[in-house]
């Protein structure tokens, strides 16, 4: 199910402003890749270019290539809607649909894909909630509103919603930044399990988190305010955190930045 992502020469713009400059990297399948770097360095923007969510912002555009296995997501005949069905996303703040029950939230993506069979939907809901380690907590109240759950549960509900459509890749944009340490731990455990099936890319401001969950880490930086963000280096997490090849990475990781 998991696919490899191969990015080359990618630039992302907001109107006339170039937010991300000339990024090339490879994201390995069935692994966790973490993006770290200071605020405003373009890591979230870059993440959103991987499922064509960047361009939903008015005036935003992308140049370059993103190959999912061998298919260019920015190719001429590619439908961005189809891309987003293949590359799922979990956001910074838990955003379950407030008007839907827990079950309806998980089933939302399936319904968009035209699945109408009740039995299939029920199975997928249970499988996804189990996959998101949420089943035991919510199995008796599947028809209650998703917004009634705690923050950590809501975020796991969003993960269940994202994996219900069986994507190839799961993008996570600071998924724990609005959560307490215990909920964070639950999500991190979950990421460890999900990488068996999915290619996972996670943006995080928490370097311990990057060190704990990821196999490879990419460090982004920008040379100044108003300058585009760039990829400084990407390597195995162990190497980045023990012996990075660029001085700026070491400065950032050891807290000696700026």
């Amino acid at each position: 199910m998991a696919k490899r992502i191969d990015v080359s020469g990618l630039n992302a713009y907001y109107g006339g402003f170039r937010a991300v400059e000339d990024i090339s990297m490879v994201v390995e399948p069935r692994s966790v890749t973490a993006f770290i770097g200071p605020s405003g360095c373009g890591k979230s923007t870059f993440l959103r270019t991987l499922n064509r969510m960047h361009e939903v912002i008015p005036g935003a555009r992308v140049e370059g290539k993103v190959l999912l296995d061998d298919e260019n997501l920015y190719g001429a005949n590619i439908d961005p809607v189809a891309v987003r069905r293949t590359v799922g996303m979990v956001f910074q703040r838990p955003n379950p649909f407030p008007t839907m029950s827990i079950k309806e939230n998980v089933a939302a993506g399936l319904k968009l894909n035209g699945v109408r069979n009740k039995k299939l939907i029920d199975e997928a809901v249970e499988r996804s909630l189990r996959g998101a380690n949420l089943w035991n907590e919510v199995k008796d109240r599947l028809d209650k509103p998703g917004a009634g759950l705690s923050g950590g549960q809501q975020q796991r509900l969003c993960i269940a919603r994202a994996i219900a459509v069986e994507p190839q890749v799961l993008l996570m944009d600071e998924p724990c930044s609005a959560l307490d340490p215990i909920s964070t731990l639950a999500i991190e455990d979950l990421i460890g399990q999900l990488k068996e099936q999915f290619t996972i890319v996670i943006v995080t401001h928490n370097m311990q988190q990057a060190a704990r969950v990821s196999d490879r880490t990419a460090f982004f930086n920008l040379s100044g305010v108003g300058q585009p963000g760039r990829l400084i280096e990407i390597d195995s997490t162990e190497k980045i955190f023990s012996n990075p090849s660029v001085q700026a990475t070491e400065d950032y990781i050891s807290g000696r930045f700026g």
């Binding site: 969510m53 799922g88 955003n95 649909f97 407030p98 939302a108 993506g109 968009l112 917004a147 919603r161």
Partner: protein, 353 residues
């Protein structure tokens, strides 16, 4: 470093932080003792403003209730005096004879006309209003959306008599063809059957069309505001699941705006039910119960009050007031019903998200 206050304070006296200085300059400045008591001194913390505001706001609330109660009492007292003089059954009589003696009047025809014209107006206006609101909030380029928004707000301020004149002078002649078409193909629905094809379409249906155009701006303006308030996070959640724009609107925008859509429709319905001038200009009124809405017949409560008021006296006027009370009750019921619908799914409303 040296401020005037520093010189007046005794040496070694601990200065409160800078923020406290600016809040109570005189107290701290004149003597350290009074500076210490500033926590218990309420005269400087704006309590009086608080009290005035509390009085003003709760007073306004009470005043509204008093006015409502006074109107209801007035309507009820006058209505009872008219109904007790009524020779017919107030609820089931269709005719309206208040010049004769004994007087005979009933709301059956005019209440029906009111409801029919309002239902036609809602059926036509709500879908179009939602379409315009969605276009402004989610489809149109920003500049067009803004211009269109201004136009909609402007339309909401046009006096109803203008719509009425337009309806009578322009719409009525142009409705002949529409009526003939409806009669030809939808006569079997009973509702669109014409007893005498080709008559002037001064009918409840035409009234409904004029009312629909009239209430379109208010429904559009309110729903547009609701749609603009849908959190970006919910829209992105839908898009990231692989929703097209329309699917995103269906999954995230419309459910979120549901109670707002209902409220906006109720605002429009209230206007349609109570509209007087536009109806009076277009309709050729008659007191008959007729479900063929293309026929030039029927009347509405508000239009009846306006057209009868000048020539009625005494009990005749009271009879009109009784009709007004019925309109009051209809509006109340409709609003209550809408509130019930909203309350039933309150925990899913998303208002707290």
């Amino acid at each position: 470093m040296e401020t005037p206050r520093d010189t007046s304070a005794p040496p070694g006296d601990q200065q409160p932080p800078q923020g406290a200085h600016t809040a109570t300059p005189n107290l701290a400045g004149s003597s350290p003792q009074r500076g210490r008591s500033s926590l218990s001194d309420s005269s400087r913390t704006g309590r009086r403003g608080d009290a005035i505001f509390k009085f003003a706001s709760s007073g306004s609330g009470v005043l509204l209730l008093v006015i409502m109660a006074a109107i209801a009492a007035f309507l009820t007292v006058r209505a009872i005096s008219a109904i007790s003089a009524n020779h017919g059954n107030f609820l089931t009589t269709a005719e309206w004879q208040t010049q004769t003696d004994p007087i005979t009047f009933g709301i059956a025809a005019i209440a029906l006309g009111t409801i029919i014209s309002a239902v036609v107006a809602m059926a036509l206006a709500v879908p179009v209003a939602l379409g315009i609101a969605l276009f402004i909030s989610h489809y149109a380029p920003r500049r067009i959306a803004q211009a269109l928004g201004y136009v909609v707000d402007l339309l909401a301020a046009v006096p109803s008599i203008v719509f009425g004149l337009w309806g009578a002078l322009f719409l009525v002649p142009h409705m002949i063809g529409v009526n003939a078409w409806l009669n030809q193909y939808f006569s079997w629905t009973y509702v669109f059957h014409q007893n005498e094809p080709g008559t002037q379409p001064r009918s409840l249906f035409t009234v409904g069309v004029v009312l629909a155009i009239m209430i379109l701006p208010i429904i559009t303006a309110v729903t547009r505001e609701i749609f603009l308030q849908v959190p970006r996070a919910h829209e992105e959640a839908a898009l990231a699941l692989g929703a097209t724009r329309w699917e995103m609107i269906r999954t995230a925008v419309i459910p979120f705006g549901r109670s707002g859509i209902i409220s906006a429709s109720m605002l429009g319905l209230g206007r349609a039910l109570g509209e007087t001038m536009a109806v009076a200009t277009v309709l050729s009124p008659s007191y008959v119960i007729n479900f063929h809405i293309l026929d030039p017949a029927g009347s509405t409560i508000a239009q009846n009050i306006a057209s009868q008021f000048g020539e009625s006296q005494g009990t005749g006027r009271d009879a009109l007031i009784a009709a007004g009370l019925v309109l009051f009750v209809i509006t109340l019921l409709v609003n209550g019903g809408a509130r019930l619908i909203i309350a039933r799914r309150k925990e899913y409303s998303g208002a707290d998200a």
